[in-house]
């Protein structure tokens, strides 16, 4: 029987946290070990952001933090105090699909849809960052977002359409 000592009890006391979530100032009371992903899904009711691996390898949890592509499973919630966080739910403008969302539907750039939120958040960012100028550049920049259904060629087409329309 192992007799390994327990590590010292981690700090668990909830702490107030305020951030801008999809354009709205929002306050939580959250324990220090809660990730941004679990905060969004389990406490903010924003289940559009998905947990595919919980260790930064699949990209399904990609959100924008102050405009930067961020793996929310590897970001602690408390570290985002004061930040502007945009999730897939914050992308459509008053019910009108963001052009990237519309392009994903038009090009059938998903099948099961589970990776799609992360794909779209990455895609929006790489176009804005100027990293989507060619198909090869899109393939490279989108390679942090896994799609097991294999929608990659359609994802490239969707991103290229939005890039071309800029």
């Amino acid at each position: 029987m192992s007799t390994t000592e327990r590590p010292a009890a981690p700090a668990r006391a909830p702490v107030p946290l305020t951030l801008r979530l999809n354009g709205r100032q929002t306050t939580f009371t959250v324990e220090p070990q809660v990730t941004l992903l679990d905060l969004l899904r389990e406490r903010a009711g924003l289940t559009g952001t998905k947990k595919g691996c919980d260790r930064g390898q699949c990209g399904a949890c990609t959100v924008l933090v102050d405009g930067r592509r961020t793996l929310s499973c590897l970001a602690l919630a408390l570290a985002q105090a004061g930040a502007e966080v945009t999730t897939i739910e914050g992308l459509a403008d008053d019910g009108e699909l963001h052009p990237m969302q519309a392009a994903f539907v038009e090009h059938d750039a998903f099948q099961c849809g589970f990776c799609t939120s992360g794909q779209i958040m990455s895609a929006v960012a790489i176009v804005r960052e100027g990293r989507a100028r060619t198909a090869d550049e899109i393939r490279e920049a989108m390679s942090g977002n896994l799609c097991r259904c294999g929608a990659y060629p359609n994802i490239v087409a969707a991103v290229a359409t939005v890039q071309g329309a800029r």
Binding site: Q33, G52, R55, I88, V105, Q111, A135
Partner: protein
């Protein structure tokens, strides 16, 4: 109260019609996915997103030995974590039975979860820690101390003491003989004798498996990432001794499955056990690491192929012997030899399947089980044969084309494989291919082209659907089928729209709910061919009722018209000779007390008359940079004969997806277990490589659209699995053509190409 599912008398098989449906309609059009908006806005609720108020969270703990028993469990540190409310182990879990797999109760393993201290494989669930938050449960799980007494474990299929020779797998013969294969092989002018190895592979859908379970008044409500809501319902009912009507399973959106969510796995029962013990809803999500041992995998295969032929490449004998691995608590035959029974015109055939019983997790079906590894083995052997005969590899495939099914002598219901070869060869430019390896080079890269045949059976299962026309003219289509990215929501809307004469956006499709009319597992590429005809049947019955109302009700403008003089279009019934004399479906529904409803169904027919299969041809170009040892697929083209294509947009996507998974199988994917202890060491997406965007070139897909009306009135065969078949062989053959190196064990990682012969 659970609203129980509709219990209906078994429906007669729908008559097979050979009449071609009207060419105008929505079926066959590249309609955008009707669930597309929900998926791109994050609104689609997958099982882990179910709107359950304040569920408890369960985190599983898994065994760290491959064989033996638990000797001690120390829960003190776990229970001291604030928020941990329960630790479920064999000591306190509700008693549940173990039972073998049956299609009526499709459990993957004959191993009731958390019932004894016995350990059958590394990764077996041994505890569930339940907390008020995910964080508390996770911390509690990390602090659980479990001591084991290990027993010797067998982990290598090649040295297993127990090797079974199963008679059957899913109703198919596992051991097959035709003619005199040994003698024909020995007498052949050209002989190939080679062993091809495919590794263990994991499905790795992006959505980890999840169960949210809740008990309400003795009834069990489950949100489960399953490809079979009715199967999950039956298995849960049997675990907990409930009538099936007291269990309800929801799976409206499934984040991919590829087979690992097809049958029932233990975590689903454990979530329900935890909910029962705590009397609260419990959400249990597998970690990515746990996905490698908890929901099956494609077994490794070791396939020895002996192929005998005449010098002109005509096959005389194929002997295909496959060994695969299986756990102690399940038998799964990875039936790689099945393709050798029916794919080519061979008079003498011997097929064997052996299953090595090991102390490893249980295998299951993964996209094109049997055909995916089998087409790699056979497709490679025929390429080797072509080179041994000095023939073009595609010509060898053509010369051995089977015009009737050689396994049973039946005609194929519809087979256009030669057209696939022809169209593919033309589009790919095959005729310009030099036969010799290492003959094509571009810049620093060797270039190679390979080809292989794709094949998958066209299966069906009985299915039912209900169509309801509402007072507002809206149409509700309901069936306990599934959409795991396959496009089922969309094609059912198209099919119902055509059958009723309404627009697809007037149709609401409800699926993924076990209380809806019965439908089969979303597996075996059979959902479209099974559920589609059921929806047509239900829609026709609803339309029939609407017509009867329209001509018999004195409030209807069509009152008194003969039935044959009425047609439906644009959401209305109207007189054929006077379209202005019309009544809308909604108005008829109002005449009928608010709704017109009909239950319909369909079942397999004509199975003794025809052999039903889909076919295709896979063409691949690879490039190998010898200096960098970099191997890439640069072009892929699949031409498929899958009957009528219901929606070219979503069908093309599925084929691209299958080819992409085939690229992974050929070049990247391998689940590696520690050979001493049995733990999966590649249990994450950094060590288990699935293709990323940059791995996949522009993939071209074409369909030879010949409708198969013997299979069903839609003329459609399934498209879910055939896309992966043949891809690994085409890539391995292209690698040989590029480099002169024949790789007989997947994946083809660059080190297997080092030391290639100098040009």
């Amino acid at each position: 109260m659970i609203v129980t599912g509709e219990r209906s008398a078994p429906l007669a098989a729908a008559a097979v019609t050979t009449e071609r449906p009207a060419t105008r309609g929505y079926v066959g059009l590249p309609v955008d996915r009707v669930d597309g908006r929900a998926k791109v806005t994050g609104a689609a609720r997958y099982s882990a997103d179910a709107a359950i108020d304040a569920p408890l969270h369960a985190v599983l703990v898994q065994s760290t030995i491959a064989s033996g028993r638990i000797t001690e469990i120390d829960e003190r540190a776990t229970r001291a974590v604030p928020g941990v409310v329960e630790v479920v182990t064999y000591r306190n879990a509700p008693r549940v039975p173990s039972f073998p797999f049956a299609f009526t109760t499709p459990v993957s393993e004959e191993l009731a979860p958390l019932q004894t201290p016995e350990i059958k494989y590394d990764g077996q669930h041994v505890a569930a820690v339940v907390g008020t938050t995910f964080e508390a449960a996770r911390e509690g799980a990390a602090l659980l101390r479990i001591a084991y007494e290990p027993a010797p474990a067998e982990l290598d299929a090649g040295t297993a003491r127990q090797v079974d020779l199963p008679e059957q797998y899913f109703g198919q013969e596992a051991q097959v003989r035709r003619g005199d294969p040994e003698a024909a092989y020995a007498a052949s002018e050209v002989r190939i004798d080679a062993t091809y190895v495919t590794p263990t592979e994991n499905h790795n859908p992006l959505e980890p498996s999840v169960t949210v379970a809740e008990w309400r008044d003795g009834e069990l409500i489950v949100h489960d990432s399953t490809q079979w809501v009715r199967g999950t319902r039956a298995a849960l009912a049997k675990h907990f001794g409930l009538d099936e009507e007291r269990v309800r399973v929801f799976a409206p959106f499934i984040g991919g499955g590829f087979g690992c969510k097809g049958f029932f796995w233990a975590h689903t029962a454990i979530a329900a056990m935890a909910a029962k013990l705590t009397n609260r809803p419990v959400k249990l999500v597998l970690t990515r690491e746990q996905m490698f041992t908890s929901v099956g995998y494609r077994s490794e295969t070791r396939q020895r192929l002996r192929v005998g032929a005449s010098r002109d490449g005509r096959l005389a004998a194929v002997l295909h012997d496959t060994l695969n691995e299986s756990s102690r608590v399940a038998t799964f035959v990875e039936a790689a030899g099945g393709v050798s029974e029916m794919l080519y015109d061979v008079p003498n055939v011997a097929i064997s399947h052996r299953v090595a019983r090991l102390d490893v997790p249980s295998a299951t079906a993964m996209r094109a089980p049997g055909e995916a590894p089998g087409t790699y083995g056979l497709g490679s052997a025929l390429d080797e044969l072509a080179y041994a005969c000095g023939l073009d590899p595609l010509e060898v495939l053509r010369r051995n084309h089977a015009s009737v099914d050689p396994s049973n002598g039946l005609p194929f219901s519809s087979k256009h494989l030669l057209a696939c070869y022809e169209r593919g060869a033309e589009a790919f430019g095959w005729s310009t291919r030099p036969r010799e390896p290492r003959a094509m080079r571009e810049g620093d890269e060797l270039v190679g082209w390979g080809v292989a045949t794709a094949t998958y059976p066209a299966m069906r299962a009985p299915a039912e659907a209900r169509v309801t026309i509402a007072a507002d003219g809206g149409v509700d289509v309901a069936s306990a089928t599934h959409d795991l990215g396959t496009g089922m929501y969309t094609i059912l809307a198209q099919i119902a729209a055509d059958a009723l004469g309404v627009a697809p956006d007037a149709v609401t499709v409800r699926i993924g709910d076990s209380s809806l009319p019965n439908a089969p597992v979303a597996g075996g590429s059979m959902s479209s061919a099974s559920v589609g005809p059921a929806v047509i049947d239900a829609a026709r019955r609803a339309r029939q009722r609407a017509i009867a109302l329209a001509i018999s009700s004195s409030d209807s403008p069509l009152y008194g018209l003969p039935e044959d003089d009425v047609e439906t279009a644009d959401g209305s019934m109207r007189a054929k000779d006077n379209p202005a004399r019309a009544i809308a479906y909604g108005a008829l529904a109002r005449l009928n007390g608010g709704a017109i409803e009909a239950l319909g169904g369909a079942a397999p027919a004509e199975e003794e008359k025809y052999s039903f299969h889909s076919f295709g041809a896979q063409f691949v170009e690879v490039r190998f940079d010898e200096e960098l040892a970099r191997l890439r697929v640069s072009r892929a083209l699949g031409v498929f004969d899958c009957g009528r294509i219901l929606n070219p947009k979503t069908a093309r996507s599925q084929m691209i997806g299958g080819i992409t998974m085939g690229i992974g199988m050929a070049l990247l994917e391998e689940t590696v277990r520690d050979p001493r202890y049995g733990a999966v060491v590649t249990n994450n997406l950094a060590d288990y490589h699935v293709p990323v965007n940059a791995d996949v070139p522009a993939v071209e897909v074409e369909f030879v659209e010949e409708p198969d009306y013997a299979l069903n009135s839609l003329g459609a065969r399934g498209v879910g699995e055939i896309g992966i078949t043949g891809v690994a062989a085409a890539i391995a053959n292209a690698v040989y053509h590029a480099t002169g190196v024949r790789v007989r064990d997947l994946p083809i990682v660059p080190e297997k190409l080092l030391g290639t012969p100098a040009s």
